[in-house]
Assembly symmetry: C2
Amino acid sequence: MDGQTAAHRRRRAGGHSANARRRGTGLIRQSAWRLPDNRDRPVEPLDEAGVAAIHDGAMRILEEIGVEFLNPEALALFAEAGATVSGTNVRMGREWVMEMVARAPARFTLTPRNPARQITVGGRTILFGNVSSPPNYRDLTMPAKSPGTRAQCADLLRLTQHFNCIHFAGGYPVEPVDLHPSTRHLDVLHDKLTLTDKVVHAYSLGAERVDDVLEMVKIAGGLSEEEFRATPRMYTNINSTSPLKHDAPMIDGCLRCIRRGQAVIVTPFTLAGAMAPVTMAGAVTLSIAEALAAIALFQHVAPGAPCVLGTFTSNVDMKSGAPAFGTPEYMRATQMTGQMARFYGLPLRSSGVCTANVPDGQAMWETSNSLWAAVQSGSNIVYHAAGWLEGGLIASPEKFVMDCEVVQMIQRYMEPGIVATGPEEIALEAIREVGASGHYFGIDHTRARYETAFYGPIVSDWRNFEAWQQAGGVWTAERAHGVFRQILADFEPPPMADDRREALADFVARRKREGGAPTDF
Amino acid sequence: MDGQTAAHRRRRAGGHSANARRRGTGLIRQSAWRLPDNRDRPVEPLDEAGVAAIHDGAMRILEEIGVEFLNPEALALFAEAGATVSGTNVRMGREWVMEMVARAPARFTLTPRNPARQITVGGRTILFGNVSSPPNYRDLTMPAKSPGTRAQCADLLRLTQHFNCIHFAGGYPVEPVDLHPSTRHLDVLHDKLTLTDKVVHAYSLGAERVDDVLEMVKIAGGLSEEEFRATPRMYTNINSTSPLKHDAPMIDGCLRCIRRGQAVIVTPFTLAGAMAPVTMAGAVTLSIAEALAAIALFQHVAPGAPCVLGTFTSNVDMKSGAPAFGTPEYMRATQMTGQMARFYGLPLRSSGVCTANVPDGQAMWETSNSLWAAVQSGSNIVYHAAGWLEGGLIASPEKFVMDCEVVQMIQRYMEPGIVATGPEEIALEAIREVGASGHYFGIDHTRARYETAFYGPIVSDWRNFEAWQQAGGVWTAERAHGVFRQILADFEPPPMADDRREALADFVARRKREGGAPTDF
């Protein structure tokens, strides 16, 4: 279906926002902010021997094969800790690794500038964040994807702030390539810290960038250096360069964060059959070894530093070599990594992902697969949970809205009230009252509960076919576009004290005058 | 998005089948037939007290409130068994109910005319069937839904036969309202038994219909009455008329089936807030009471008769009163009923469902929710797993194809090989061989496995955006239409001996001469 062309035409012919209003969409309703408690027992495909086999494999990789660290400081630190350093190759004994990893907390908090948006990472809490780092953007008014801009990035940050089911602002929701790389981080963080009041992230892409972001978070929170360091306020997320390599700026950024009390997520990107073994157990084993090598280093440097084990293990399409996401293999790898995270006592990060290029059926079954795998694996942090298309190469505002429906349903699913079985919920007296011939619409038991009894959707259309067709026969992606436009039209940035806002602007201006960050890395 | 109009135009302008071929879709690939082994521990939202509360509630309904049976024979049988019968109201003691339910087998087989398509119902096996009973049909060439025809019904039966991930042919995949009700069952069963060789179903809609279908299954299988009765060959599925009522033909059909050794599924349709309490525990409790009342009767009549507990508990949209499917409440109700089924030692039937009107994003997240709930609940039989739209009012061939992708992924997900952790899967030697600078594409460990290592999709497009757009930028629903057309073009019915085919045709002709079934029920 030439969906985007039809959409494009339609958009030019009148705009969707007005159209959505004509359809009587009204205010966008959504659930309240909450930290969902995932009470489901995790799905655990590995037996005890399987966990032991992956652990042993990861330990043997670290002992016998080693991991390359391209960061000289890391090499010195490893040598100091007694690891075997040969050039950039580092081998380390399992006792030391396990001793270091055991220092990491099983749970910790992240407190953004608005303390009401504090999040807990670990335990049974599952948190969701926006898509991070796509180089391209496409909404349905555009004939094709194109490189991201600051304005689009800001719009996606508005969605991040709007949706209560999104707990933190991950990386840039689209890479704003209209901004110069030397000062891009200053502008995006300025937008992020003013348009949202949720936990933010620093890319580990060079010392100056990381230090700038740390400073901006401090300023936005009105914090002294001591207050900033007292509890984690933000985090960074790094990928290894699989197989078996950690590059210099990623490790540097993490060291900068942990030394000032902030959190790190280490997420190897291991595509089975490409940069990892074709077997899922092999890919997970490689991923675990890469992650633990870095986490052990960080715990050596800053015992008790908040560290999260990330998983990004999927498979390639063996016909094209392209990555595929939301596959059965992806789901099982996520669950297996969840078992390993619990084995090591580390919080787990996974993702909401898909291979699809447009926000259609395929996009949603792949995304549903990955989001349910996040639930099943006991994930604590779910990256890319809203807005991701084309294996992470496209940020889509329609997909963002659609994903938030799925994410919000997952959070509703976790409310204990749904499965309560007290006498009032078993409702024997109501059943007796209605008997075999009445109905439940009008009875007191129903009237007392109906407003909050059931999930209320964001963009789902629950009308019957005739009513839906009468209203224009609008498919989900186009409805989502209307919701997106309406959210932008209604958006009000969260409050921020004038002095902090000015201090933030001053900092950005000063750092721009100084030339920002070097771009030669 | 005016998706269906664009599609309609496109279809008229050239047809999608040819288009699909031009795109080089080639042969539709799919996984082999298998009976999936669901090794995941079920998700169990109820604690022991919760299970006890629902059980006690259901038993008190049966003891204190009673269930209406509009079938006189059933009333006499209940009286004979010692139940308290007052008019059409039947109350029964929990000891008797539990004694009867305990007679039902925890697992049994169903053997269709092709013994290679035998299925096992119970244990950890999960089986999937096509959509059943929508009154309307719509493919993307049609501007709107319209009442089903025999030709459309046959096309959906061809899909049922084609897809290895579909294990049984449920009810009519669309109601062919162009056929007279008195002989409709004869024509559809003829089509079903010749176009498929999988397990079939009889609607419990009057004695003559049920007896006709039993006879046709016997003929198609070339079975004597003794052989037919020796093991279950087919089944019926009934709904109660919630709240608390079983109508006459449904119970009659079940009695006819169990007396000749065939299986029954009892599936109360309890919409919380409408014909059941607004609380999910109350709706499930009501559903359990209704189902167990019927199953107890059947076990009294035919001890050990194969019976399945069905669940169809969802919520209404409290704004419109319309049913909503694939909701968080639906998922939890399915899981709760799964716990109760295991408590009673009965196999469980659930469904693949959605509220959406078209095969778009909403359709697929709702369907994914319901199919994953089927997995999580330990369901043994999944009805409506392919082709369902608009809360069951529309059969869609595109949705059928798209659902089969999800169902096939679930079956791949259940293959133990994905999570194997032997030395060959941990792949330490491959990891050593590649080290930190190579890649895994070309190594022996990959080459020995790559053809079967990963899931191969039916309709998912895993190309990047540019390649996808170059090939026409076709959204999933339209691609599914192309797959549908290609399956029809390539379809060959399964072999059937000439004598059986003739005997079947003769039977249909004779019963038509006799006038078929009365239509005054």
